[in-house]
Amino acid sequence: MNWEVVIGLEIHTQLSTKSKLFSGAAVGFGAEPNTQTTLVDLGMPGALPVFNKEALRMAVMFGHAINAEIGMSSVFARKNYFYPDLPKGYQTSQMDHPIVGKGFLDVMLEDGTTSRVGITRAHLEEDAGKSLHEDFQGMTGIDLNRSSTPLLEIVSEPDIRSAKEAVAYVKMIHSIVTYLGICDGNMAEGSMRCDINLSLRPKGQQEYGTRTEIKNVNSFRFIEKAIYTEIERQADILEDGGRIIQETRLYDPEKNETRSMRSKEDANDYRYFPCPDLLPVVLTQEYVDNIKATLPELPSQKAARFQSEHALSEYDANVLSSSRAMADYFEVANGVVKDPKLAANWVMGELSKLLNQEQLDIANSPVNAQAFGELLIRIKDNTINGKTAKDVFQAMWNGEGSADAIIEAKGLKQVTDTGAIEAMIQTILDANAAQVEQYRAADEDKQKKMIGFFVGQVMKASQGKANPGLVNPILAKMLKG
């Protein structure tokens, strides 16, 4: 059977506010257990929530970024269920009136095509704490530091049809929220977590199949792998004539499989109702418009500008704008060298190569964008050639100093004096009289193949410092005799 996969994603994005969604406790990763908690986060009797202004602003920014309707009157609702990491016995979330309504994103796939993914809604909610399963007298420990941390839950339509598309969509969301500065994007620390709703249906069938929900997947790679394994699992069941059970599953990266979460099997009735401790959040058009006016340039806008302003290819523009840090690096380097194509090639080439090798984020590059730009200047003005530049860059990476200092110290300056080059060529021609004879006797096609030999000899004699742009024409002229 030929199956079509149908995927919808719920992305929980932790907003990078200083304090919590409903309390003045600090937000942060890795603090000692329960040291970042207040009455509100602990659900103490008589504690009351007050809504964080910045979380609201961030949610509205996101709404604008995905072309969404902004909820001018949004309402917090309580989602009631018992769990030890949920101190109040309810999660304060939004149900009928979310802060961000319908929107969409155009996602660029690897093959260069674009697909539009609908976004149903994005709503504000508080995070839960954490259950620590290390053994404490055979019990579970509860840390509520994360309790009441602001989350924006971004819910997509079931518009996604492949693992690759899912990853491209999540990457795009990641890129947007980090561009906006509303999330640090640190997936390893759980700043972005993804729930995957997945079902299969025979190609051509209209109605959806029964779906499963894979909870809390927190890396791009795991999202892709979890989708592949779940597709396989569901397809196996369906092809054996079985039925998919609607359930919550967990992805185990070590075994690369999904398994049913028994604890969530209990059919839940969340008894949503408007939270009586919070009031409707009513926005003015002016507030919403002001946020729109101050929105930073978004990845797609930046890519378009890179194409129009810097004449970069669509591919280069998209790669460079995929992360705000990389785009900023490119722009600073290009500001120094004023050669967009050269800067783009080097950022996407040599810089990215070394960053990947050492698994470094561009923000932590040992060579900053200004110094990088200065290196590129020396390529552009022919002080060094591309090959030498790679060595200089490696030396810069190793902390040996600026491009100019390294070129100076190692005497890597290109020879651009035509007299010196002519003398060098003459020496080579004299020492290889036989080859010169052969060259002169050959036809034009053969000559083109043979000239490489002489170029190589010249470069060798100059220790790579002869400017290839000068060597070639002079050599051709002198070989003619």
């Binding site: 003045g24 406790a25 329960n34 964080n52 259950s131 404490f136 420990g141 509520l144 919070l278 009031l279």
Partner: protein
């Protein structure tokens, strides 16, 4: 409006209340009488009436995003039935 004992047990489970058989009998009776009492609402025509959840119909005030609270973990943990290493302890949670 009356509910059966199975309903009572279902509600009690949702509300995390352990009921004995005798409790369930008693609550079946008392819940049914409360539900009959509130049943009279159904005869009222409320078409077009907006629900009222806050009597003053005010809107939400916003708090500045600043950290105002200090760590008072020990004071909070002092009321907990069981703790260790700064954590609240509960019977094993199985995911």
């Amino acid at each position: 409006m009356s509910i059966d004992k199975q309903d009572v047990q279902k509600i009690a489970h949702l509300a995390r209340l352990a009921l004995t058989e005798a409790d369930a009998d008693q609550y079946q009776h008392s819940l049914s009488s409360v539900l009959s009492l509130v049943e009279q609402m159904q005869s009222v025509d409320t078409d077009g009436i907006e629900p009222l959840s806050n009597p003053l119909e005010m809107t939400q005030r916003l708090r500045e995003d600043i950290v105002t609270e200090e760590n008072r973990r020990d004071a909070f943990l002092a009321n907990a039935p069981q703790t260790e290493a700064g954590l609240f302890l509960v019977p094993k949670v199985i995911d």
